[in-house]
């Protein structure tokens, strides 16, 4: 029987939650790296026992941890993230030039084919790659070196590269997203990059449809259709049918189109999920009701999924990396909250149950479907 492994990063450590394919009873293992912030951890699809985790604190900086046994044991890998060449500057909050400074890794993305190759999205925004299982890291400087790089400015959460999507149909195509620079695409394995933000509109920047400067929160794709992208932006849920060349809004009847995560059903490429949040200053669900919204039409027409979720007095947030979908049938959907709950649905979102209720604030949730 298949099984499922959830990888949960929190403000104070990582947790590994496991269940059989029924997804009814869960074992909780952790905390790993207790007391450290674990922004993200993710398993390799090429070797599901190989996991990478980003561990950091303000005191002792950045570590990368690696597991070769599915999260039972971990060992530190390399933690030197040096910007290529003379780093130069980006734009600071007050408009002045500010030196690029490495702060932390927000997201780790293992290669689709090689368990020893892994990408890391950093703050200040840069993309790093390791080809030796995380022992050493090299920047892919073409991204930060894009002619717009000097003008990138941080969002409230920092100038972070938080989304990395690898195209399963084209080994040379990579998508990334940066707050608050926008989305970028490489068609040459990360050597050169260009912004893919046409169609985005952000009223909070001087030129609402500028080439860069948009606060993209998350991008998702279905592996069978890598040219179709879905985006949760600071405000607006967006869709692209041409690999990011152009975007159009699909917020439709959502109660608010602000939010952080977005995900795609494993077997229905037109079925997508978001968690609407009231506003950019009120980081909690509208009306105190925690609702996942599902569209079976690739956007615009959304239904609220509420069964099993708190429908009163709920004021948690769901962060950008904190939702994941398994590949079982029916598809499982999972998300974690800043209140420390991890909810799961074994029927594509129709019914929800708390898997755990009292973890530290959840920063990320990933899922592995195991044979």
């Amino acid at each position: 029987m298949s099984s499922v492994r959830l990888l949960v990063g929190t403000r104070k450590g990582a947790f590994v939650l496991t269940s059989d394919g029924n997804r009814e009873r869960w074992a909780v293992n952790g905390p790993h790296f207790g007391g450290w912030e674990v922004y993200h951890l993710k398993g390799s699809t090429a070797d599901p026992q190989r996991l990478y985790a980003s561990q950091s604190t303000g005191w002792f900086g950045q570590l990368i941890q690696r597991s070769d046994d599915g999260g039972k044991t971990w060992a530190p890998a390399g933690n030197q993230f040096a910007y290529d060449g003379v780093p130069g500057t980006h734009q600071w909050y007050d408009g002045t030039p500010h030196p690029w400074e490495f702060k932390r890794v927000w997201h780790v993305e293992p290669s689709l084919t090689d368990p020893d190759t892994v990408y890391a999205g950093a703050e200040d925004a840069a993309l790093f790659r390791s080809v030796d299982a995380g022992q050493t890291w090299q920047e892919l400087p073409g991204l930060r070196g894009h002619r717009s790089g000097h003008a990138w400015a941080p969002g409230a959460g920092g100038l972070c590269l938080h989304t990395i999507l690898l195209d399963p149909s084209d080994a040379k195509r990579i998508f990334v997203a940066i707050s608050a620079a926008g989305a970028f695409r490489s068609d040459d394995a990360g050597e050169t990059w260009r912004p893919i933000n046409r169609g985005l509109k952000s009223e909070g920047i001087p030129d609402p449809d500028a080439e860069v400067g948009h606060c993209v929160h998350r991008i998702a794709m279905h592996p069978s259709r890598p040219g179709v992208l879905f985006m949760q932006k600071h405000w607006d849920v967006m869709r692209s049918d041409d690999a990011g060349e152009s975007w159009h809004e699909v917020s439709g009847n959502l109660p608010t189109d602000f939010g952080f995560p977005i995900g795609v059903h494993a077997h229905e490429p037109e079925t997508i999920y978001v968690v609407p949040i009231k506003s950019d200053s009120e980081h909690y669900p509208p009306e105190g009701k925690l609702r996942v919204f599902r569209s079976r039409t690739g956007g615009n027409d959304w239904e609220a999924l509420t069964t099993g979720l708190p429908q009163r007095d709920c004021y948690v947030n769901v962060l950008r990396d904190a939702m994941a979908l398994d590949t079982l049938d029916p598809c499982g959907v999972y998300f974690g909250t800043t209140g420390g709950q991890v909810y799961g649905s074994a029927d594509a979102g129709d019914h929800w149950n708390p898997i755990v209720r009292d973890l530290p604030a959840v920063l990320s949730v990933e899922v592995q479907t195991l044979p």
Binding site: G35, W36, T57, G58, W59, F60, G61, Q62, L63, P76, N79, Q80, A82
Partner: protein, 98 residues
Amino acid sequence: MIRVVLPAHLRTLAGVDGDVTLEVEGPATLRSVLDALEASYPVLRGTIRDHVTERRRPFVRFFACEEDLSHELPDTPLPAAVVSGAEPFLVVGAMAGG
């Protein structure tokens, strides 16, 4: 023999209980003690000072003999009591973060 006291998270990371003892070749300074510490426990590289600049991380402090040595130059000799092993050299996670 120099005794180094690490904060709890770095002891866990280095896999040690209690004090770390180090042999330091040449004059015992902030730099030479940290060099010896990182040579013995490579996992600590980058957690106390920057990999390249060797600048102390902002929320890490160095204490010894009831003195704050955090702002001393890297090649400043350590107190004799630390060099003799009578007093430990303390690497401290600053009280910060609530």
